[in-house]
Structures are given as C-alpha cells and as structure tokens.
C-alpha cells in the first residue's frame, strides 16, 4: 500500500492518515496492520494515567521537552473520552499542537471515544503500532484513568505512570479501581497544594502493603506547570526501563501483550463474523420481540440464533 511505504519513508502526512484509517476501522485496516507489523516492536511505550484535572497534559508536555533534549523522537496518543458537549479532545489537541508544531520529532494525536468503532483500547493500541513502525523511539499513551478500557490501554505500556494530586480533605483511599495496581511510577502532581506530603506518604504506605518483591514504584512529587520534579520522573522512567531489561521482564511484558492482543483479535474477528452472518442471514426483530414479550428467554434465543447461522455455540 502506497501510504504504508510513505510512512516507512518518514511521511508525517501518511502517519496521520494511517492512524485515521485505523481509528475509523477502515476496510484496509487489517492489510495496513499486517504490512506495518514487521517494523514494530522497537519503540518504548509509556502509559500515563490519572483522573481528569490531574495535570497529565502539562506533565506530558514537560516530558516531551526533556525527551527531545535527550535526542529521542516521541509520539503521543492522548485518549480523551470527553463528552460530545465539550469536545475536549479536539480542543486539547489544538492547544498542544501549537506548542510543538514546529518540532518534527514529536507527533501528537488525540483520540475521543467516538468514532473508534472497534473500541478505544484497540484503536489506541493500533495507533501505537503505526507510530512504532514510523520509527518513534518513545510512545506515550495518555489516558484518563477512570474506566476499565482506559486501564486496558495503559496495560499495553512498558512503563506506566499514575498521576495523582494532593487529596485535600479526602484520603487517597478514594483512588480508583485498579489504578494502584498498574503504576510502575507514581507522580503526585500539583505538589504545592496543601496535603501533598500526606498524599505522598499515603501512597507509599499503600505500596508497602503490597509487599511484592521486585520493582518498588517510586512516588515523585512534581509541579508540572513549573517543571519541578520532571527530571526525577525522567530518571525513574529510565531506571524502570533498565530494571525491566535487566530482569528480562521487558520481553515477558511484551510476550504477555502479544498474548492479550492475539486473544482480543480472535474475539474481534469472531464477533465481526457473527454480526456479518446475522446481518445477511436473519432478522433479529423476531428474537427481540419474543424476548420483550417474555415468550423466549435470551439464552435460548441466542443459541437458536447461532444455530440458524450455523455458528458453533
């Protein structure tokens, strides 16, 4: 495919275009992903997650500056499932693009949840692959860490940074589902706010409770807006990468990821095929009607439906 060749030759336009094709589940997507695959696997993937308003964007901007100074090219995928009312993703994109527009070593892409027909986590992971094949040294995946799909996205990273803010009156105990489990590095941003020290201490305490051997996630106070603590974060990221490499865990993580991706792809292909078959072979209405009227339970309806399209069930 022409655009794949252009991408491999370094065309930013082809990069942008291919990510769009992937995000919109273009029919050529499978072919694109296949062609790009041999060129992937070189980038280092960093996941950055945290609640809305935690200051992830400012932090990423600072990280970009630091990484560029160290000579790395960087891709950013910002997953921002903002309400259609606010259009947050697009606005955020514009603001960011202005700042780094002149630096060809940086490519930033925002993704909303709309328009990603195959699910946001798949779309984000495939965008990562496209950027990886393009040749970015580091790819940052930034997500609002509130739901399972966002957690799935950062699971795809080599190193995951969880961004917290001082809890104010609240205790850190309100930290969301699974967030504590996925962090390789914790940042307490806006560390000039009251309660910052307590938050740092509480997070450390929670990490102590885990009592897991191996990597001990550092907890770093940061003031992203002024760039304070960002060097420490960069150092921790380097240390974590070195740790993973030294222990052979980078390979292990990537193998795990390959397994997860294979599994999801299998499910995706099967589901697509089921729906194609249903669409062309039968009408769902009669089944839905029967369920709605309590004439048939959903389980036997589903099995009968699969029987009619000759699907194993």
């Amino acid at each position: 495919m022409e655009q794949v060749e252009e991408l491999l030759q370094g065309s930013r336009r082809a990069l942008a275009r291919l990510i769009s094709l992937v995000e919109n589940n273009d029919p050529r997507k499978e072919e694109i992903m296949r062609q790009l695959f041999p060129y992937t696997g070189k980038a280092y993937l960093i996941g950055i997650t945290g609640a809305p308003g935690a200051g992830k964007s400012s932090l990423v901007d600072r990280l970009l500056t630091g990484m560029r100074r160290s000579g790395f090219t960087v891709g950013v995928i910002a997953v921002d499932p903002t309400s259609p009312f606010t259009g947050g993703a697009i606005l955020g994109d514009r603001i960011r693009m202005q700042e780094h527009a002149l630096d060809s070593g940086i490519f930033i892409r925002s993704m909303g949840t709309r328009g990603s027909l195959g699910g946001i986590s798949r779309a984000a992971r495939e965008a990562v692959q496209v950027m990886d094949a393009f040749g970015k040294d580091i790819i940052i995946i930034e997500t609002v860490g509130v739901g399972q799909s966002e957690i799935d996205i950062v699971k795809a990273a080599d190193s995951t940074v969880v961004v917290l803010t001082p809890a104010g009156g609240d205790s850190v105990q309100t930290i969301k589902a699974g967030i504590m489990e996925i962090g390789d590095i914790f940042v307490v941003n806006k560390c000039d706010l009251p309660g910052a020290e307590r938050t740092v201490a509480e997070v450390k305490l929670m990490l102590d409770l885990k009592e897991e051997p191996g990597w001990r996630p550092p907890v770093i106070p940061v003031m992203a807006l002024r760039g304070e603590g960002v060097d420490e974060l960069c150092n921790s990221l380097r240390e974590h990468r070195d740790y993973l490499q030294r222990q052979g865990l980078l390979e292990a993580r990537r193998r795990e990821r390959a397994g997860r991706e294979l599994g999801e792809l299998v499910e995706f292909l099967v589901k697509s095929r089921v729906w194609d078959s249903i669409k062309t072979q039968i009408s769902l209405d009669q089944f839905i009607e029967a369920i709605a009227l309590r004439r048939r339970d959903p389980y036997s309806a589903a099995r009968e439906l699969l029987r009619q399209i000759n699907f194993p069930h």
Copy 2:
C-alpha cells in the same frame, strides 16, 4: 432447580445464593437465568450514577426510606469497582446492611469488579433479573459513573439519575464522557457547598444545548445527608416513569434492552465457545511466540488459529 423455587417462594437466602452463583459464572447460571426469565420484567429499574464521593450511597439510603414509606419493596445493586487495597465494596455493604438489616422489604447487594468473570455489567444485569424474579417492585442499580462498563450498566435502567456535586472552582465541563447523555434526572448533591447554584445553572444550560424534544431532565438540588430535596427526586422519578409509560417509551426502552442483551449474549456464547475450543484443541504459545518474535503478525495468527479450530472467521 430447588433454589429457584425457594426464590420464587420468597426466600432471601435463595436470593443471595442465586446472585452469587450468577456473579461467579456458575455452570448452572444459564439454567437459572432461563428458569427465572418468565418471572422477570415487572420491576422498575432505576440507575444511579456519579463520581466517587458524590454521595450516591447516602442518596440511595434516603430513597430507600422514601420508597419503603410508599409501600414498595426495593432491591439495590451497588457496583463498586474499588481497589483490592481498600476493599470498599465489602465495607460499604456492611455499613448499609446494618441500617436496613431489619427491613425484609429491602435487599442490598454490592458487587466489586473482581470475581465477576463474565464482566461486571453482565453480572449486574443478571443480578437485576434475579431480584426482579424475586418480586422487588423497584431495583436500584448504583454505579460509580466513570467508565464505559458503568455507563453500560445504567443503560439497563428505565430511569437514570446522574448525581453531581458543586464543582467548586472547576466548571461542569469536566463532567465525564457520556454522563450528560444518559441522565433522565440530574441531582446536584451537597447543595450547601459553594458553587451549587452555579452548577445547577450550568447543567441546565448544557441540557438546553441538547435541544431534544420530549423529556426535559430536571436538575434537582439535594442535600442527601439531611434528606433535603429527596422528595423532589422521588416526584421526578414518578413523573419520568409516567412520561415513559404515557409515550409508550417504557416498552421501547425495554425492547432496546432486550436487543442489547441478546447481542451481548450471542457474543458471550461465541467467545466462550472459541476459548473452549482453543483450550482443548491447540496451544496458544506457539502463536504468541511467533508474534513476539515478529515472525507472524497478530491478524494472520488469529485467522490461522480460528482456521485450526474450524471456526468461521
């Protein structure tokens, strides 16, 4: 099945036991759901969602008191995907149980995300069916409204209440993905806090922007801890139910729900079957290895895998 009969005869023990079986994806689940199905469809389902700390639990407790006074029996399913570190779901459950322990007209069940192998939204919906068959007049599904799966849960409701709190310095614009779209009724809880009036006004403004004909979601200031505004909320819930019934929309919503459930069940059955076949017929390791070594792209690996287990793909 014995426990199904006991449930239909009003045994709370059978109710608790059957919800556990469903939640744990017990092999007998399909049979249980089939047997219960004819007895479902009578309860009115209310979804209550909002960010952590918005005061949903206090609000639900107040609603319970009001509904019981009106003579309704009520079931509550509180989906609380809290970190294993905090064990929030279990703690919350205990506190609530104490308060309503002596009222046999109330049944409260908390669900974490752990242990729900078939996905939390399926588990919650099936628990709703069990409570419905048991004969509860009203079933409240309370979720932390932050992720797609939580939004899916409230989509299963007849009326959805979105609980907000005064935004303080922030604007309401940070309201999360899709939350504005799903609310039939908006509650601004903790309305004694500064900024409450502004939040109410902003939510009304955002709703005005929608300009959709039909039901206009009310925005109700509430102070759940003191019970203020709860009567208004009860009235709005009644009005919304009457509106849905008058317009024939209750039937429409339930038909939509039947369609969604059927679709999810079809996908679930197919996925289960695929994984069963994979487990018994082939080893994934070789595929994962080939992907990890970049010898084979995930798409062709997935297709080859499906070919080997004779699955349409």
